[in-house]
């Protein structure tokens, strides 16, 4: 509490949100429609929300996220089949008039208890390993962009020496590698529509590869709890057509470091919980 107050007093009142220019470019994609239909089948309530959203992993906008989204739909289908099978069997067992009490216990345990999960999981593991191999960043490449995190700000350092804050400029359709570092606690870099997250850990450099299919703005958030400013540690990736990239980067570039920023909200209930004893006494008329 106090730390936030101090920072609010001593530091500039910059708002994280002011960096973020909301764009609602949502290309209607076949996948988004398909996902609505499937979810509708799976559970009626889930369909209410739909799958689209600026931070939705079900509306992928890059190859890595695309692969994971496909994986999700396959796994969801498989899981529903298994769940239905198990619950169907359990409920069927309740019917008093049913037959089939004569079967080999051994065969059930070997077939369903051992072989069925082994086969399913082996297939899943092979697919996952192959996918993971495709997504990982390997050696340091020339065009690695430094992504440095601190409470509660992301700063990006480009190979050409430019620096930006809370906005990362990239070229659409080109893969880029990030080198994630942290100046204080652990943060996690996550742009759901482009791909998975990776932690920024003090004392360590973690690398990840991402790519945006088309020009546009993709929102990102810190995914690892990093203190009271965590909920507002947002950033975005702007993907540009190759021709526009340099100009956009130059326009947004900032010199050196700048102070961390944190959006503050007043919280009326806060005081009640802090001073509950006083409130109780007051209510009882003692004070």
């Amino acid at each position: 509490m106090n730390r936030v107050a101090e920072q609010r007093d001593t530091r500039a009142h910059a708002d994280v949100r002011s960096f973020v220019e909301f764009r609602h470019a949502r290309p209607t994609r076949l996948r988004a429609k398909g996902c609505r239909a499937l979810f509708g089948l799976a559970a009626g309530a889930l369909a209410l929300g739909g799958c689209a959203g600026e931070l939705s992993i079900l509306e992928p906008a890059g190859p890595a996220a695309e692969r994971v989204a496909t994986l999700w739909w396959i796994m969801l289908g498989g899981a529903l089949v298994i769940l239905t099978g198990v619950m169907g069997t359990a409920l069927y067992a309740l019917r008093p008039d049913r037959g089939t009490r004569q079967f080999s216990e051994r065969r059930v345990l070997i077939g369903w208890g051992l072989m069925f999960p082994f086969a399913t999981l082996l297939a899943l593991m092979a697919a996952a390993f192959w996918r993971g191999e495709q997504l990982l960043a390997r050696a340091e490449t020339e065009d690695t962009i430094g992504a440095h995190s601190q409470q509660w700000l992301w700063s990006f350092a480009y190979p050409d020496g430019s620096r930006t804050q809370n906005v990362l400029h990239v070229v659409a359709g080109e893969e880029f590698t990030l080198a994630l570092t942290s100046g204080d606690v652990i943060h996690s870099f996550w742009v759901p529509r482009l791909g998975g997250k990776m932690d920024a850990i003090p004392g360590k450099v973690n690398r990840m590869r991402l790519e945006a299919d088309a020009p546009g703005t993709y929102r990102g958030i810190c995914a690892e709890y990093c203190g009271i400013g965590h909920a507002h540690m947002e950033f975005e990736i702007r993907a540009h057509a190759p021709a526009d990239y340099q100009a956009a980067l130059a326009a947004d570039s900032v010199p050196g470091d700048s102070e961390p920023v944190l959006e503050q909200r007043s919280a009326p209930a806060a005081r009640i919980i802090e001073n509950w004893a006083d409130y109780l006494l007051e209510w009882l008329g003692v004070q």
């Binding site: 409920l91 089939t100 791909g195 360590k204 009271i228 802090e274």
Partner: protein, 838 residues
Amino acid sequence: MSEAAHNEALDLHHELEPLYSPPRTRFGFLAATNHSIVGIRFMVTAIAFFLIGGVLAMLMRAQLAGPDTQFLDPGQYAQVFTMHGTVMMFLFAIPMIEGFALYMLPKLLGSRDLAFPRLSAFGYWCYLFGGLILLTALLLGVAPDSGWFMYTPLASKPFSPGINSDIWLVGITVVEISAVCAAIEFMVTVLKVRTGGMALGKMPLLAWYLWVTSAMMLVGFPPLILGSIMLEVERAFGLPFFDPGGGGDPLLWQHLFWLFGHPEVYIIFLPAAGVVSTLLPVFAGRPLVGYAWIVAALIAQAFLSFGLWVHHMFTTGIPHLSLAFFSAASLLVVVPTAVQVFAWLATLLKGRPRLELPMLWLYGFFFIFVSGGLTGVMVAVVPFDWQVHDTHFIVAHLHYVLVGGFVFPVLAGLYYWMPQFIGRRGDQGLGRLAFWLIFVGFNLTFMIMHLTGLLGMPRRVYTYAEGLGWEIPNLVSSIGGFVMTIGFALVVIDILVQWRFAAISPRNPWKAGTLEWAMPTPAPAYNFASQPHVTAREPMADEGDLPAKLATGGGYLPGHRGGQRDTLGVDGVTGEPEQVILLPGPTYLPLVTAATITGAALCFLFGIYWGAALLALGVLCCGLRWLWDTGLRHEPEPIDAGLGKLLLPHPAVAQSPGWWGMIFTLVFDATFFASLLFGYLFLWTIAPNWPPPAYIEPAPVIAALTALALGLSAFAAYRAVAANTRSDAGGTRLWLIVTGLASFAATAGLIAIPVFLAPSPTEHAYGAAVLMLAAYGALHSGLTAVGAGFVSLRLARGFLSPRRSLDLRNLALFGTYAGASGAAILAAVHLMPLVGSL
């Protein structure tokens, strides 16, 4: 039962009940050591903490019900989510299991109490006091606030300067003492304190489950306790174990935490699965399919669960090959779970299941737990985990696993064993309503939360903006959460109503086969007026008149022998009666010891280090006083144990509970030490900012002399055992003195390491780790020296004879362990720099 038999049973009951109950004085209840009383205290306290944790959950759901809510500020929200996780995991789930096992194990095994009744009471007080530390902090608004897994550096001093993190580290460590005590106690109890004839293969499955769980607790908790000590020492004295600037590594904390944290999930799940395996056959009307399969499956599960902690760390930049390994292990652990699920399904199919209230909870368990298991398979897949890690998808998954896999079976068990606890069984209407509210409310809350996570909502955000599609799912979750809360409130009301008004339950109301139903309800303090001879897995199904036979003294150890509390001890494998275990009576010593430990912890918490040191000495004195009461000062005669058995009391038997207690204590200790060595090597090989500015001064002479002293100490302890076997009291005393002096010298040699040889522990993690290792070794050598003095005193007071040799054998065992671990420490401290400088 004839009238004569009835009167005989009543006479026995009136003799035994006061003997096994706490004294009827005003504060007598504080001295209770009886396992049923302590077990119920554990469970009631755990339920109270569950309700507190539930209120915290409701605060969060109120906050997240809509976007931009201004109900809690981020600092308070952080305390609330941290305490919700902490309370549910450490103050509800684990203590609930401990309490349940404390209460149920002796009844299942046909015995009168656990192996170490005073230890159960001690564990309870530690749990209560540790829990109260956390609860007080919550009420004062200084509760822990870095998340229930306390990731460094956020939980370290620079980023959490308040007392909040210290509260967690100290409070939880006090609570964990109870878990470790319980684990040791259950290990020994299941191994030795069963009734006659109960071979391993005839044990009820629930006992197997609880046994495997205890083994997991024994080796699962040490990494957490070590990590907590290291972090607290870093916060208090600046030893930089987790500070990358000083050669530490924040990831070491994550490894230590999840080395505990993942097995923890199975520690919570296995007892609940044991409840399922116990209830399901009763309501299916046939024995469970695949007894041996299930035993094998749960042992496999226990082993595998220690190989998958890294799946909580897939996004920390771990090399891809290790990711693949841990992903494979995470998927592999599904197989033993599948074996159990299909054994349950096959039992249902073979039987004629009745959907009574406990069974309804089991069906709820099936749906929720299987769903949680399936999402668990998904997050074991690394690329998918990279997307959903730390989102609400994970929150949903873990609640499906823990609520489905633990809370539902616990509620099934609660309704099933209600006649045991309160002697009554009532109408099921209110219970059914509560079930449906909780089941529907739970799925309403958490099923849609998967979608919330897929839509990108990270966990632990105290608020969110509009327009991301998170509003409706969050509102649905909040509504569901309140429906579920109403359901839990109804369960509490239902229990209270049944306790006051329900009809008296008949014996064995569900027609179960296990021994806990072979006693009157509610269960008497002594459990069995005489202990059964078991010939089948379901003795109650086997022998219809068993309860009457036991109540009239027709089994082992009928009644009591001169006011001495006792229970049968058996051969671990065959269940052949082997000894009569003499049980201690009620005592205030557990309470005093636990209070002293809590005092030491509080002193440490507030920086009064001399007070903490003084009280730590007080704990040692309590421990010695405690041990003084064990054993016998005269040569015992064999006791007529009934059914034609003449058995010696346990102090005169080689394989007594105390011997096994020492072995399992050392298993715990060795795991702790292995975690410490792991930390040392991890820092050495992986942490940034190595090598340190300076290594230890080469001191081959001191190292060699210390090693010699360690060896001599262990050797002399064994010579003392041999001399005692020859009835050579003089020789025993002499060798004990040598043991004491040699351990004292070894202690000095180990203390010399940080004091004279190693670089400053605050400058670099190297010096800090060396200090930690040396302190561990010095503590063990020092305890060996104290132990040698203590046993000499016991020798002089007539506690020892060739047959009554437990003190000496345990000292030799501990001395050997101290020697071996000390030698490993010397090698790690003195030889590693040589390797490192190559």
